[in-house]
Amino acid sequence: MPERKINLSDKRTFQRRKVDKRYVFRHLLSYLKPYALLIILIFFANVASTLCTLFGPDLCGKAIDLIGKDGGTDFAGIGYYSALLAGLYAASALLAYLSTIGMGYISRGIVRRMRCDVFARLSRLPVGYFDKRQAGDVISVLSYDIDTVGESLANDIIIVLKSVVLIIGSLVMMLTIAAPLLIVFAVTIPLSLIMTRFIVKRVQPLFRKRSQKLGELNGFVEEIITGQKTTKAYCAERTFIDKFEEKNRQAIDAYARSEYYGTVSGPCVGLVNNISLALISVFGALMYMNNPAVMTVGRISSFVLYSRKFSGPINEVANIMGEFQSALAAAERVFRVLDEQPEPEDAPDAEVLSNVRGEVDISDLTFGYLPGKPVLKNFSLHASPGDVVAIVGHTGAGKTTVINLLMRFYDADSGTIRIDGKDIASVTRSSLRRAFTMVLQDTWLFAGTVYANIAYGNPDVTREDVERVCKEACIHSFITRLPQGYDTVLNENAMNVSKGQKQLLTIARAMLYDSPMLILDEATSNVDTRTEKLIQQAMRRLMNGKTCFVIAHRLSTIKNADKILVMRDGNVVEQGTHKSLMAGNGYYASLYHSQFESY
């Protein structure tokens, strides 16, 4: 996989801690299990392929020995060996290819399943999980971490397997050819092990630093380019160019330092190979002179070829260990997500909330996002079917929290919410949520056509329905002016849809759902007043006969509410209709007056 998301990967590599290997392997095993048979096949194919290549040098050597000095060549023998060699090599290539794509098949399958599992788990997690985390972190588990695991499965296992067979195999072959020559490796193997260890130890922290610095640079660039207009407005270009220079230098230096050491390993491997070659030729030659019957030229040549096969894999395995570590760490992060506590299952005897009249009774609700820091204290409220309940108050007064609890995005610490007399803890979540329609300040649209965004996966919705609600939401004429009308694909860069228009689209979506209760959380805050006036009728129709919970800054929008709750620091400080509250001349009245104040 090419480096798809550099900046995502970076953040992860330096948050390193001890990996719980048993935990990871246990989970990994369950993913590998369905492929057990295929894995065994691949294992044998791979061993067979490696063995085929192993016999190569031996046969070469034998063939070379058959070339007689002066015309005494045994052509039949050479022909035999050559044919054997060609067959072996062909078989080896075929088996190698098959085992590689086999492993690729397995790893893709596992990656796909992991992604779906992680996604499915995420979709079952409570909203609080996402409120506490950055979207980027969650996404990097799903893309980067799983990719890393998949890569490692596809490549590393094969390489390690092959290397082990090669190392053992060539050792055996060399042993049969000329055991004494193995002494050479007493020098070169420790040498190469020491060197690789040294390099890996040195390089790993450097690579972590390099990722970190690159991540910092990327973060900085993203910030400053996004805010280019501001920078221009304050003529601060020079300041930020200087700051960038500092980050740039650091990133380049970290890159260079890691590369200095990273690129040492290649030549070092070369050195060990070359030293082996030198030592083997010297000792081999000496043995040949000592007793030509024991040591032939052909044998020296096979020994040389085996020695190359022998030292290569050792270094390769050493290199892979580093990758393996990061794959394990990535796998652990993946499995931790899979082990996150999902929203508790609905009680086994949970009812399906149906034919809701819309009577809402909240009593004595207390709740805090963090223990010991209640956001809502002893909150009570009664709404009869069809009531419009407005909740007002400063930012942070706890208005949105009420909504979070009504929808069971969070569960209250104490107190109960009843709908039509039923405790919402005793009904299924999906039926509870379906009883509400929600329009939020944050407009959420996904990459897809306008039509798909409004119908949103509801197969019962017809084109006419969608056009009808769009007309009601005063967005129909805007949509028809788009290049492909309702089939225009919405995405971030290409389209010029303003915040207000986005909000109208989400209002249209909400209109499609005919739920008995409605939640409007700053639903028209991005719509300008003229348009708001236009859609007021549609909103009224949407609200008609439904129990509505309305949160709004603009107090004019809630003046007609049946009940206004005024919240301050998690408490309801006043309650009543607009008239009674204004007459009371308390906190609400002062809030209300402040919007007309001139200085």
């Binding site: 998301k5 550099i6 070469c60 996402f130 993203e222 304050y234 190359r308 003229r530």
Partner: protein
């Protein structure tokens, strides 16, 4: 590509030195098998032990020289490629910083970011790898071929016959796989986008109980990605076994030809060794091929930005009436050249006055600000600041007069102080006053470390209203001649909004204020209110005159204030 490689020029000394050492290293490696062959063919039959040991020592020497010169050469190439990338990135960032808004629109912000990050990274990789492998591989390849020719012409010809087969095979495989990889990348982007949507829309999805639907949708995306990845894998995995197979077959051919031509064992052995070296060189070539083709695409994207000319024209326009701080004279403008975003707008504001701009979404309010601060140039008409056409100012001179808080403005991941100061090196007193006036004092003092508290990325640790107040503080901290507040009241509740207005009048009496708003209460007190509609002024005057004369204003006002106040 040329424009990018230019950046390597200042480091050509290092590059050349690196290449020389690479050469030494490669030659040392090439000589090794030759010595081995000489030992086996010439020295061993003569039973010259001393010579054998001597030549063994020579081989060790070559090994060491290969090691040292390779390491040194690698350092030099890392250094020169790093420095070159540094310079390129610097120029690119500088250029982007000064780009005109229209040019930024043309390329797109996400694209600019990726050019500065991933593209420059790929170029670094490309140059480093090409310098490192690109010299070694051809030397080993050509040298290996030459030496095998010296060894034996026929064996060399066998070898030579294999090479084009390998080259063509590898070329086709990497070309094909690159095509598939673009597809893989696209599918991968789909997956990330879908996940992103699901994280941001978690409330909506749960509210509509669409989890199952989303899971199925994701399943489809994940499956399509896996299919593409598997397809890429099938093609990519071909290269290694195929290349090895072809060369191994060549090896067999060498033995047969060697036997037919009755060549000495030592020679065959040497040729076989060169075979391995040449195979590795070929594999290195394919790696370089991939890196270069990706790098050159990146280079193109970077050069495209570097070619943009950010220089603003300056001068040559007649002056306006110096009595006014701001004057718009029949201004028209369009972003895309199709639809007028601003049409025939004229008004004047005196120094110290407050201008209110009211209007709905897309009515052209923010466009007026963009034109006033000359982020864009007018298509016709003229804008004067202090009686001078904005196009006669140097960009810096003009913008120094302004302090601006934009709609969806941004805060950096650094301290509160740095965010307010924004590189202007303001006095402490100025910053304090701005924090007070913008109503930010109350929460800033509550922050851990106060002014020195570090904000997280996108200031996620602040609420919307808090962010807004810091952005306002930044706008007024420099005691600007003209203070622009573009729809900053929307995230503030009415009371804070009112306090802000009072504080602005008290602390910054001489500033001319331009307030863009959707709420009447934010502009009600202004000396001049202009009501925008579809890019045109539909009413201008004070609150009182507008109430009398402007139907639209009256409508907005009554809608917002409730009927009994109208």
């Amino acid at each position: 590509m040329k424009g990018t490689l230019k950046y390597l020029k200042p480091y050509s000394g290092t590059v050349v030195l690196g290449l020389i050492f690479k050469f030494i290293g490669a030659v040392s490696e090439l000589l090794l098998p030759m010595v081995l062959e000489y030992v086996i063919n010439e020295v061993v039959p003569r039973r010259n032990v001393k010579m054998i040991v001597l030549l063994g020592g020579l081989m060790l020497l070559f090994s060491l020289s290969a090691l040292l010169s390779n390491i040194y050469a690698n350092r030099l190439t890392v250094k020169s490629s790093g420095n070159m990338t540094h310079d390129l990135r610097y120029d690119l960032f500088e250029r982007i910083s000064y780009l005109k808004s229209r040019q930024v629109d043309g390329v797109g912000v996400p694209s600019l970011i990726s050019r500065l990050t991933s593209d420059s990274y790929y170029i670094n990789q490309m140059v480093a790898r090409t310098l490192r492998l690109g010299v070694r591989a051809p030397i080993l390849l050509v040298g290996g071929i030459i030496i095998t020719f010296i060894e034996d012409v026929y064996l060399a010809l066998v070898l030579l016959a294999c090479l084009p087969v390998v080259a063509v095979t590898l070329y086709f495989i990497s070309r094909k796989s690159m095509k598939i990889y673009t597809e893989v990348q696209r599918r991968g982007d789909d997956l990330v986008r879908d996940m992103q949507e699901n994280v941001t829309g978690v409330r909506v999805i749960k509210a509509l109980s669409k989890e199952q639907y989303e899971r199925e949708k994701f399943d489809g995306i994940a499956t399509r990605l896996a299919d593409e990845e598997y397809r890429a894998n099938k093609v990519m995995s071909l290269s290694n076994p195929l290349a090895t197979l072809i060369l191994n077959m060549g090896l067999v051919a060498v033995i047969i030809v060697g036997a037919v031509r009755n060549i000495e064992g030592g020679t065959i052995l040497a040729v076989l060794s060169y075979f391995v070296i040449i195979l590795n060189a070929m594999i290195a070539f394919t790696k370089i091929f991939v890196v270069i083709s990706r790098g050159s695409a990146s280079a193109q994207r970077i050069e495209q930005v570097l070619k943009l000319d950010p220089a603003e024209t300056c001068g040559g326009y007649p002056d306006g009436d110096p009595a006014y701080e701001i004057e718009f004279r029949d201004v028209s403008f369009s972003y895309n050249g199709v639809r007028e975003n601003v049409n025939g707008v004229s008004f004047t504001v005196k120094r110290g006055q407050t201008l209110g701009i009211l209007g709905g979404t897309g009515s052209g309010k923010s466009t007026l600000i963009n034109l006033l601060m000359r982020f864009y140039d007018v298509d016709s008409g003229a804008i004067y600041v202090c009686g001078k056409d904005v196009r006669n100012y140097l960009a810096e001179e003009l913008r120094k007069k302004f302090g601006a808080a934009f709609q969806s403005d941004f805060l950096m991941a650094s301290s509160v102080r740095e965010n307010v100061d924004y590189g202007r090196r303001l006095e402490q007193a100025d910053i304090d006053r701005a924090i007070t006036a913008s109503q930010a004092e109350e929460f800033v003092t509550g922050l851990d470390g106060g002014l020195d508290c570090d904000l997280s990325q996108k200031a996620a640790n602040l609420s919307g209203g808090q962010k807004q107040r810091l952005i306002i503080a930044r706008a007024i901290a420099g005691n600007p001649e003209i203070c622009v507040l573009d729809d900053v009241g929307s995230a503030l509740d009415y009371r804070t909004d009112a306090e802000l207005r009072k504080a602005l009048a008290r602390y910054y009496p001489s500033s001319t204020k331009v307030v863009v708003a959707q709420r009447v209460s934010s502009v009600k007190h202004a000396d001049l209110i202009i009501v925008m509609r579809d890019g045109e002024i539909s009413g201008a005057g004070t609150h009182e005159t507008l109430l009398e004369e402007c139907e639209e204003y009256r409508q907005i006002y009554s809608a917002q204030m409730g009927e009994e106040n109208a």
